[in-house]
Point group: C2
Chain length 298, copies 2
């Protein structure tokens, strides 16, 4: 049973128990370009009392560097080495776990964030933001020469997704059983300040439907992201808490990694899903309305 936090004593006890705080961003710190009230003050307070603060996002539209610009714009302190995105985790997965050969390329269904992270890891790619693949012109296999060096397809949220990209990605996977099929994350929706839009999982869905198999998803709740964090930061899982708004990504991610979990209700998950008559099977350790609630301690 999740513990609902509401008093100063609750928050004091929480802060005392955990040294490392992992934060999801969309729906926790902000919604689109609107900060969640109190988020900045709470993060500053946690830093002030000596806590480690890390940001763990499935958002793969931006690289860590561009994502840092968003923190800056919203006035939230963050450093690039504190930010872990699913595009970064996917690039690290390719270079370390798969030892992706230097002469191979990744076909990208996604945006510049994926391209920047692949580039940082020294991985060649095509598709993505390339003008020839960002078109609504008719696509025919007759007039296409596949690149034989493609060894992986990587899908993320792509607001320029189109039939040409879907078709090329599908053909690379269909024609070569050795071609890896990866997704930055499986989030079915993407929260914006004005409502939900289709997420990375929705962008990969045409390819997985045509192919009849699912991609390996790298972001939360998969453990790959935690491996990336562990490679850069020391932390004791017993004294680490994951703060998120989604049961099936953030909270599952924390539980899979042996971390404690705090659900906030400023994003996707509604209180009903935890405390209602038919609660989700994913149970966070703690629930609070908003990260801003921790201002009770300031």
């Amino acid at each position: 049973m999740a513990q609902k936090l509401s008093t100063e004593a609750h928050y004091k006890s929480l802060v005392d128990q955990y040294d490392t705080w992992l934060f999801d961003c969309d729906g926790v710190l902000w919604e689109g370009n609107r900060l969640i009230s109190g988020a900045t003050e709470v993060l500053a307070y946690l830093r002030k009392i000596g806590k480690s603060v890390l940001f763990v996002t499935n958002n793969a539209t931006q690289s860590r560097k561009s994502y840092k610009a968003k923190f800056d714009k919203l006035g939230v302190e963050a450093h690039v080495d504190e930010i872990f995105g699913s595009a970064y985790a996917a690039a690290v997965y390719l270079s370390t776990v798969l030892s992706f050969p230097k002469d191979k390329k990744v076909y990208v269904v996604g945006m510049s964030g994926i391209e920047e992270e692949l580039r940082e890891e020294g991985i060649s790619f095509l598709g993505g933001t390339a003008p020839e693949d960002n078109t609504l012109a008719p696509f025919s296999l007759e007039h296409w020469t596949p690149d034989p060096s493609v060894g992986a397809v990587l899908c993320g949220l792509d607001t320029s997704v189109n039939y040409t990209k879907m078709s090329k990605a599908f053909q690379y996977l269909l024609s070569n059983p050795e071609c890896n099929f990866l997704a930055t994350n499986g989030d079915s929706t993407y929260p914006t300040a004005h409502g939900l839009l289709p997420g990375a999982g929705a962008c990969a869905a045409p390819i997985s439907t045509a192919l009849g198999r699912e991609p390996l998803s790298i972001g939360k709740p998969a453990g790959t992201m935690l491996e990336c964090i562990k490679a850069k930061h020391n932390f004791d899982p017993k004294r680490t808490i994951m703060v998120g708004d989604r049961l099936n990504t953030d909270i599952e991610f924390g539980k899979n990694g042996g971390l404690s979990t705090l659900l906030v209700l400023t994003g996707i998950t509604k209180e009903q899903e935890v405390f209602g008559p038919k609660p989700s099977s994913t149970v966070p350790d703690f629930v609070t309305q908003s990260i801003g609630d921790l201002r009770a301690l300031i």
Copy 2:
């Protein structure tokens, strides 16, 4: 157990048993723009000996009228009232089964074939080929005013599918539980002369993934298509045979409708799937290599 046909006596017996012959087109009569060898002669022969010939296709990119032009171009005799497409069946489903109100509109993720069939049934629509929805420009809910008269989303194969269409369709369905979610058909792939491309099922997948529920699929193997045919043609199911290349659409469609079924191996299904060590649970009555095999009778 399916009967494998190969001798003149087999084909003679087949032709004697059935008065009405329903044909799938892609993978049976042609592949892309390439006729299957012998298809024209066999169709002409069946007509000559007094058989009824009908064409039943899940292809919703074209209306029956434009589809007839394809028959003409390939030199295959066909009449508009012999052609049944899933775009037509979807339009008929909306106007008859749903009694879709005249003041409501359908949001179309699809091509001109769907628009033409909706227009013929007097149903208003938006999306589809409208220039403002055929764009790769960024989409934001902030700058979009949904049309409150949208009462259904209809998805078909759309080679101009993009994030704006996916997002609008998703939002219409998400914001209004009364909004009908229909698909012309669920084919995951679309066969062309040069290989497979993502099909209508793949184009609907981003929306169903984001939404967390599947559309009602109108084309084969659903019974709606057969209802449309019954409304226009008299036939005795016991003396009717469905000829197709896909087990999960054509053959299922025939079996669901109480028709006999003939699988040809010139399209999606491989012989192994019927006679191999792990055969599909969908068993056609008859199997032959190609529709052209019936030339043995000519």
